[in-house]
């Protein structure tokens, strides 16, 4: 069990199996294959975001900005520098990391309300700049004609024009992101950031440089968001300013919490799937689906902020307890 689980876990294999085979069965459940591309990209975004919300307890309400910046950076690079997929994605990551690191300088000394409001302010600033700086971003019309560049490995090159091919590409990126973030959150670093969420002051009194850790998490989270944003621009064949609005920044918060980002690594993934299913299933019945989705979020915050993953964990716990009681009637049920 021990050493392999450091990198790959059973849950991961299940997730990879489900998403790795998605194009094979997605049509038969009444969905279409492009939705898979969007879902997987948003899962990457939500995983990156959850480093802040779920792991460090920092509610960023402006994260859509970094998702958006990643898209513009990806487009700008392929238009103005070189139409190379790897370099364009790398550029998206580097740009969002740099901008994220600068923003993090302002926000890493803050938490709670001040943190939330600062991230709203930064999000709005970037949204504003992106809407008005038409020569760079295309303003309200967006940055159009972004190419789905081929995945060139030197000896062999795959075209990603087709949605299924693109799906497999974003899936592989997703798998890599999952492995890296799983390792990150289950390393000493992950232990420290979760401790900061629980009791920031005590962590400082144990000799940790809390601000540095918060700065680091914020920057990493922005880098992952930028990667997702670059992929999204490729999928949509354009980068648009809407994803940077407060509403979209809010949606990633909603997704992550509903899925159970506070208690599970997989919360962000589950939440993204639920969001897109809600959009495509509820959306066919009512224009107001986002309203219902928001209400569901409010109900969860009130009654079960641990989200879907939390309910699952409770159910597993209850089941185990029942099994223990059933197998040895005299034994006391043990917690956990």
């Amino acid at each position: 069990m021990q050493h392999a689980e450091r990198w790959i876990t059973r849950e991961m294999l299940v997730a990879f199996l489900i998403f790795g085979t998605l194009p094979l069965w997605v049509d038969s459940v009444g969905l279409y294959s492009y939705i898979g591309v969007e879902v997987v990209i948003w899962m990457i975004f939500a995983l990156g975001f959850n480093l802040l919300l779920g792991y460090t307890g920092l509610p960023s309400f402006g994260h859509g900005a970094f998702f958006g910046i990643g898209g513009y950076a990806f487009g700008w690079f392929q238009f103005n520098m070189m139409p190379n997929l790897w370099l364009a994605l790398l550029f998206a990551i580097v740009m969002t990391s740099i901008i994220g690191a600068l923003v993090a300088l302002f926000v890493s000394h803050r938490r709670g309300i001040y943190f939330a409001l600062l991230t709203i302010a930064f999000g709005q600033i970037f949204f504003f700049i992106a809407s008005k700086w038409t020569s760079l971003t295309g303003g309200e019309d967006g940055m159009l004609n972004i190419k789905r560049l081929p995945a060139d490995f030197g000896f062999v090159s795959f075209s990603l024009q087709d949605n299924t091919a693109l799906y497999f590409f974003v899936f592989i990126v997703f798998a890599l992101v999952v492995i890296v973030l799983w390792r990150l959150t289950h390393s000493p670093f992950g232990k420290v950031i979760r401790a900061i969420k629980q009791n920031e002051m005590r962590v400082g009194f144990l000799g940790y440089n809390v601000y540095f850790y918060k700065w680091m998490v914020f920057t990493i989270s922005c880098a992952v968001s930028g990667l997702a944003g670059g992929l999204f621009a490729m999928a949509q064949e354009g980068a648009y300013v809407q994803v940077m609005s407060l509403q979209w920044s809010g949606i990633v918060v909603l997704m992550t919490l509903i899925g159970g980002g506070f208690v599970s690594f997989w919360g962000a993934v589950v939440g993204t799937v639920v969001f897109f299913l809600a959009r495509d299933l509820l959306g066919t019945y009512t224009e107001a689906w986002l309203l219902w989705y928001g209400l569901m979020f409010m109900v969860l915050v009130m009654f079960k902020p641990e989200g879907i993953a939390g309910m699952w964990q409770d159910a597993v716990k209850a089941l185990r307890r029942r099994q223990i009681v059933a197998s040895s009637p005299s034994a006391h049920p043990v917690g956990k």
Partner: protein, 247 residues
């Protein structure tokens, strides 16, 4: 020379003077006590010494080094560790993880994302050792939030101890404990004092008189008496105050 000294430390909040020209010195390998009635400035004194607040005037010296006004993390890195009066454990972590987080070796690996903490024999041995010393053996995998009140108090001290301090500050460790638990705690601290320098804030006089080598009495933000427990029992000020009656 004393391991830790506070020289002419002065602290105000607004126009309220909390500490007035405090002089304290704590000898290495000794257990020192700070006692005084509630609101006398004991906890503020700890907070100034361990970097939570900056003193307005005065100096704090640790092992010959001036640490006045340094941030808590720097002070902690030098080997000064403290527990809190209000419970400050990590509720979502098991007892073991609470302690692991405090181990300086883990802190040095804080940015290492490849390290496998769960299977690190050295660090886990350290955590187990501390759990034994604070009487929590067997509770390794229990979540801190599921521990009893007394166990959480012990864990609170354990976290401070796991930081491998050269000097350990304990803020009212008996707060909220019953007579039996207090006696257990007393025995535990008696064992700890064999290998670490300890400073305890307490208003439970009998507790402190039984443990301390040297006691400072603080009242109205000033040190009003100092000495060994026996000397203090003979001290006129202590006798005339209600503190003396407790002793």
């Amino acid at each position: 020379m004393a391991l830790f000294e506070a020289i002419h430390v002065h602290k105000r909040f607004g126009d309220h003077v909390v500490l007035e020209e405090i002089n304290l010195s704590f000898e290495e390998h000794k257990l020192s006590g700070i006692m005084g009635p509630n609101g006398a400035g004991k906890t503020t004194c700890f907070n100034v010494i361990t970097g939570r607040y900056k003193p307005d005037r005065g100096q704090v010296i640790f092992d010959g080094q001036d640490i006045t006004g340094k941030p808590p993390r720097t002070i902690a890195q030098l080997g000064i560790s403290r527990s809190f009066q209000v419970m400050n454990v990590f509720d979502e972590y098991t007892a073991r993880d609470n302690l692991l987080l405090a181990v300086p070796g883990v802190r040095q690996k804080g940015l290492n994302i490849v390290h496998d903490l769960a299977n690190d024999i050295e660090f886990n041995a350290k955590a187990s050792d501390v759990l034994n010393r604070v009487g929590l053996a067997g509770k390794e995998d229990v979540l801190a939030s599921d521990l009893s009140y007394g166990q959480r108090r012990a864990l609170e001290i354990g976290i401070a101890l796991a930081a491998e301090p050269r000097i350990l500050f304990l803020d009212e460790p008996t707060a909220g404990l019953g007579a039996e638990a207090t006696a257990e705690l007393s025995a535990m601290i008696n064992r700890l004092k064999q290998d670490v320098t300890i400073v305890i804030i307490e208003h439970d006089m009998s507790f402190l008189f039984g443990l301390a080598d040297h006691i400072n009495v603080i009242h109205w933000g000033q040190v009003v008496a100092q000495g060994s427990p026996d000397e203090l029992k003979a001290n006129k000020w202590v006798q005339s105050s209600n503190l003396g009656k407790l002793a």
